[in-house]
């Protein structure tokens, strides 16, 4: 546990003093354009296909 904390601290130091945002800091806009809606749908379908492939063939090693 202490080692993990030390590693996290080291990573923070390597990023300087800048505080980077986290996932919770980002949100989708309330109103989406047609292109934005289509992108979200296409992303969801691509991720479903990726997960199905991983379930079928195993975890991927990216090349």
């Amino acid at each position: 546990m202490r080692q993990i904390k030390a590693m996290k601290k080291e990573l923070t130091n390597q990023n300087g003093s800048e505080k980077l945002p986290r996932a919770k800091d980002f949100k989708l806009p309330k109103r989406l354009t047609k292109d934005q809606k289509e992108l979200i749908e296409a992303f969801r379908e691509a991720m479903d296909a990726l997960k199905k492939e991983e379930a079928k063939y195993g975890k991927k090693t990216y090349i």
Binding site: K8, L11, Q14, N15, G16, E18, L20, P21, R22, A23, K24, D25, F26, K27, L28, P29, D35, Q36, E38, L39, I40, A42, F43, R44, E45, A46, M47, D48, A49, L50, K51, K52, E53, E54, Y57, K60, T61, Y62, I63
Partner: protein, 140 residues
């Protein structure tokens, strides 16, 4: 304006649902599509990646290395080569990550990855590179 997250390829399958909620705030390097496409098996999956890529481009979220990015990245990897701190086989395996890192620096983003060790190696020669582990970013 906050820096934009740029996800390394291996983060996508593990955090797909969470990424969807910030899809319009992140950028997609063409290198990520390269890695996804190169390791896809079914044609139907390839078609879905193609649609995602086209729409990411239409929404101006697709980022691609220019000739200058390739040049500067090769110079960065050369610095690592001259430092002799990593094996040449390791440096060869860092090519895509180094280009993703370069795109993050140029487009005012930061890399979210499972492989912080690899990006820390690149950070030695790209000091402006910002990295965050996926577990920290999603606060698990």
């Amino acid at each position: 304006m906050a820096k934009k997250p740029i996800f390394d390829t291996s983060v996508f399958p593990d955090y797909a649902v969470r990424i969807e909620n910030l899809l319009l705030s992140c950028l997609f390097p063409t290198l990520v599509f390269y890695e996804l496409v190169a390791t896809s098996i079914d044609d139907s999956t390839l078609q879905k990646y193609e649609r995602w890529r086209v729409l990411a481009n239409k929404n101006k979220l697709l980022i691609n290395p220019t000739a200058t990015d390739w040049w500067e990245t090769s110079k960065a990897i050369r610095r690592l080569y001259l430092m002799q701190s990593e094996q040449p086989t390791k440096l060869k395996s860092l090519r895509n990550d180094a280009l993703i890192a370069r795109l993050a620096v140029i487009h005012d983003g930061f890399v979210v990855t499972h492989d912080t060790d690899d990006f820390q190696v690149i950070q030695k020669v790209m000091p402006n590179l910002k990295i965050m582990s996926a577990s920290d970013f999603f606060e698990l």
